[in-house]
């Protein structure tokens, strides 16, 4: 699997997690990211309002 090759490059890398194909695809999926954009903004607005 192409996206798993970094596990073998370094002992440090072998002990963490690396995103698979689906997770990487969702990062640039426009429809999903528009939804996440709304969610993140709403969360940030709550954080801002709680901070003032």
């Amino acid at each position: 699997m192409e996206h798993e090759k970094n596990f073998q490059k370094n002992d440090q890398f072998a002990l963490t997690m690396i995103p698979g194909g689906f997770a990487k695809k969702m990062r640039t999926c426009i429809i999903f990211q528009i939804f996440r954009f709304i969610v993140i903004n709403l969360k940030m607005l709550v954080v801002v309002s709680k901070s003032h």
């Binding site: 640039t28 801002v48 003032h52």
Partner: protein, 490 residues
């Protein structure tokens, strides 16, 4: 008529001065003293440092903005504070030395009724031999992205590295912190991923080894002792989040490192286990440690009271608990709420200029006794919120008298948003967007992680990248005081 003097025109000082002037109106005077002629949206220096933005995109001249707002702008650096006035005059004042406005080198005295210290940090390059030039400026071995000019220089050097890589010469890039007591790991974190992204875009990623070096005891500490966030139904440490980002991009790391010396192409470092090492590089961006700007303070009789007003690191003492003792005794309530100096009630300190009570991260030192731990971040959103709260307090003191209730903005009760974005295109960028609430963990209120895991989270994707773009334009719009600027939150 009362006079408020604000020393510094960065995020916190600019926020404090502009809100204070808006609330005080023409009846009272607001003066800003800053050595800079330009305002800089520092988070976007990262994009200047990789050539995705020009210097002009992240700065604008302060004079027209302050003229429009009715603020008295002095392009000068503050030199000393005299909170008790002189022998023959009780009016407190500061001394300033002009850096522009055709008065360069001239000194002046500026009286005040209220004083806000928002000077930000001194970039203490000389704390690490070879990182500075010995005269307080950045040395020639490494680059920085702390100022717009530094970022322009960083990009020029980076492009040379890309050119060599394109010519078939293998290159080594090192990014991180240049001392054991640095803060602002987030800036270096964002820069290394931008470099990695640009190297891929330039088709030279396979010819460049990129490595991270940091004083954090674990990746993802960020000077906040790390954070826990909800991901996929789990509550996970930022350590796993950060390591994953590095591993995915084939960027190995050296952590718990105090950079002890920098030479041409070489960094010497000491690790927490006491071992030492040398890392070679062709290009290195190392963040310097921060210190106070070196303001002095004098009593009425002329005696030096700097140590009474300022902590040993040069930052101003405020209403924090500076006697909290060891890590086990630290509490959220140690952190300041009003930012008022305990000895002089008409002096406040905001943003990086206030002295934190202690670290947020767990203290650490090498077996040789060298302290190696990140110092607390006080930039960005917290700096703006604190600046606004203090402006509110000063306005109430002026309008309602010295018994007016002060406004509060504890970092243990406020959140922060951090977006580390790589690339600049609308569809090909990627970002790690994080929010943390509160910045200083409160283990009494949130047993376990010290924070509210509903609002402490992080994720990678285009959405965060879009937010980073919006923040850039929105905050510059706000800082220019364009219509509706007060509606944009800090």
């Amino acid at each position: 008529m009362a006079r408020l003097v604000v020393m510094g025109g960065g995020v916190s000082g600019h926020t404090a001065a502009t809100f204070a002037k808006k609330w005080l109106g023409k009846e009272h005077e607001v003066v800003v003293v800053t050595p800079n002629s330009q305002w800089n949206w520092i988070p976007s220096n990262i994009w200047v440092g990789v050539g995705e933005m020009q210097k002009e995109d992240v700065i604008f001249p302060l004079a027209p903005v302050y003229e429009k707002a009715g603020i008295d702008y002095r392009q000068a650096k503050a030199v000393s504070i005299h909170p008790e006035g002189k022998e023959d005059d009780d009016t407190p004042f500061i001394t300033i030395e002009y850096t522009g406005q055709n008065k360069k080198g001239q000194t002046d005295e500026l009286t005040y009724d209220y004083l806000i210290n928002a000077t930000g940090p001194k970039l203490n390059f000389d704390a690490t031999p070879g990182l500075g030039d010995g005269n307080g400026q950045m040395g020639s071995h490494t680059v920085s992205v702390c100022t717009a000019d530094h970022a322009v220089h960083a990009n020029e050097e980076l492009q040379k590295i890309f050119d060599k890589a394109k010519a078939g010469e293998r290159q080594k890039i090192l990014v991180g912190t240049g001392h054991g007591l640095c803060t602002c790991q987030g800036a270096a974190f964002e820069y290394i991923f931008n470099i990695e992204h640009e190297a891929k875009e330039a088709g030279v990623r396979d010819m460049i080894d990129i490595k991270w070096i940091s004083n954090e005891s674990f990746l993802g500490d960020f000077g906040m002792g790390g954070l826990h966030m909800k991901v996929g139904g789990y509550v996970v440490s930022s350590n796993l989040f950060a390591e994953s980002l590095f591993a995915e991009r084939n960027v190995p790391w050296i952590i718990g490192a105090h950079v002890s010396k920098v030479e041409e192409g070489k960094v010497h470092y000491e690790l927490l286990d006491g071992t030492t090492g040398v890392e070679e590089f062709d290009f290195a961006m190392l963040i310097p440690p921060f210190a106070g700007v070196g303001l002095k303070a004098f009593a009425k009789d002329g005696s030096d009271i700097t140590s009474k007003i300022f902590a040993p690191n040069g930052f101003m003492k405020v209403d924090a608990n500076y006697n909290a003792g060891s890590y086990e005794n630290w509490k959220a309530s140690d952190w300041p709420r009003t930012y008022q100096n305990p000895d002089y009630k008409n002096i406040f300190a905001v943003g990086i200029a206030f002295a934190p009570p202690h670290l947020i991260s767990k203290p650490a030192q090498s077996v040789n006794g060298t302290p190696i731990n990140p110092t607390p971040p006080r930039t960005g959103m917290p700096a703006g919120i604190i600046g606004k709260a203090v402006a509110h307090s000063v306005c109430d003191l002026i309008k309602n008298g010295e018994n007016a209730k002060l406004h509060e903005a504890s970092m243990a009760e406020m959140g922060a948003a951090c977006v580390a974005s790589a690339g600049k295109g609308v569809l090909d960028g990627t970002a790690a967007a994080m929010t943390v609430y509160p910045v200083v963990p409160d283990f009494e209120k949130y047993p376990g992680t010290g924070r509210d895991t509903t609002y402490t989270y992080g994720e990678v994707g285009l959405a965060g990248h879009w937010i980073k773009h919006i923040l850039h334009y929105m905050f510059i719009y706000k800082a220019k005081l364009y219509p509706g600027w007060t509606l944009i939150p800090e």
